[in-house]
Symmetry: C2
Subunit: 207 residues, 2 copies
Amino acid sequence: MNKFNNKAISSLKAIISSRRDIRGNRFLNKKIDDKILNELLEAANNAPSVGFSQPWKFIIVKDNKKREKVYKNFLKENKKAKKIFKTNEIYPNLKLEGIKESYLNIAVLYKKPKKDVLGQTTQKKVGEYSVVCAIQNFWLMARVYGIGVGWVSILKAKKIKKILGINDDYKLIAYLTVGYVKEFLDEPELKKIGWEKKRTLNDITKL
Amino acid sequence: MNKFNNKAISSLKAIISSRRDIRGNRFLNKKIDDKILNELLEAANNAPSVGFSQPWKFIIVKDNKKREKVYKNFLKENKKAKKIFKTNEIYPNLKLEGIKESYLNIAVLYKKPKKDVLGQTTQKKVGEYSVVCAIQNFWLMARVYGIGVGWVSILKAKKIKKILGINDDYKLIAYLTVGYVKEFLDEPELKKIGWEKKRTLNDITKL
């Protein structure tokens, strides 16, 4: 099939525009079946990758002790961030992660290549970017199932790798929190509270 | 709406699994209406971004002289790549770009932040990764419309920025070629020709 039908077009638009970055205040304590989790991982695994290298690893983290350690690292890093945003009254009240409230966490890794990769000879970074394409596929597939994803970036990568026993063959690209949610807001929360304005097409196509 | 219906689920699966990286041998010489191009850009603009920073720019390149210069840079960089893969008989015959055959090209840029960004205080790279999420949204929305996208990475970023008059406030994340296509192969081409095997879920979830 070349072009999809109009239903598929409007449904993709709705999925993309209703996807949200989910924090701990919205996760439900509800199991995700392995069958569904596997569909999200299949979507990730069907992402584009430089030279078809598929350099991604999705390491599922359910263990509470590990999550507690990751959470402690978040607190430490967010303490520093609070200082950076110290003149802002909103920042300290923002819920910026859902490490413990989500059903599971995923450490998404880039496996550094051990041989030359087709297409990666001039720009090395495209390997990492392939992993991000996989994350975005995962995020959209989660959204259709009513599963929320939060990308937690206030974490020291080196420390997270140590907690999870990940060696230097891998680079941490993202730490995701995944679970069913109470609701998906009709707009991104940071837009709602006036943190940032939504860019227009004119903004994003002009230098 | 929390969960989408089964039709939306299967249609997203079909979109994701039938998306391909398109090269010059498959592009058609057919105009993309601005209305449709804007829908692809809207999809990109609805991607997740760290601190809702939306740090992406999509610079449309139609000018043939600029494309010719970009193509020359590809030839130069691919000459080096051919040396790297010199023991491989397949490499020299692979079509690895569609710079001139596609309807248009897009330079996708990351706008470096001029102030502190929420969520980007510990890991700086997440800003670039937001741009890649936008690219993947664009790619999927293109696919439903029967429009193909190719990510050309055998290009020297510095040189491409110079050709397009882009200053150092921006980093080149991707150079995309975009156009209607004759066909989407049923499998990635590099899988078909045996360049790389498809990873399994077991491969991508275990260290």
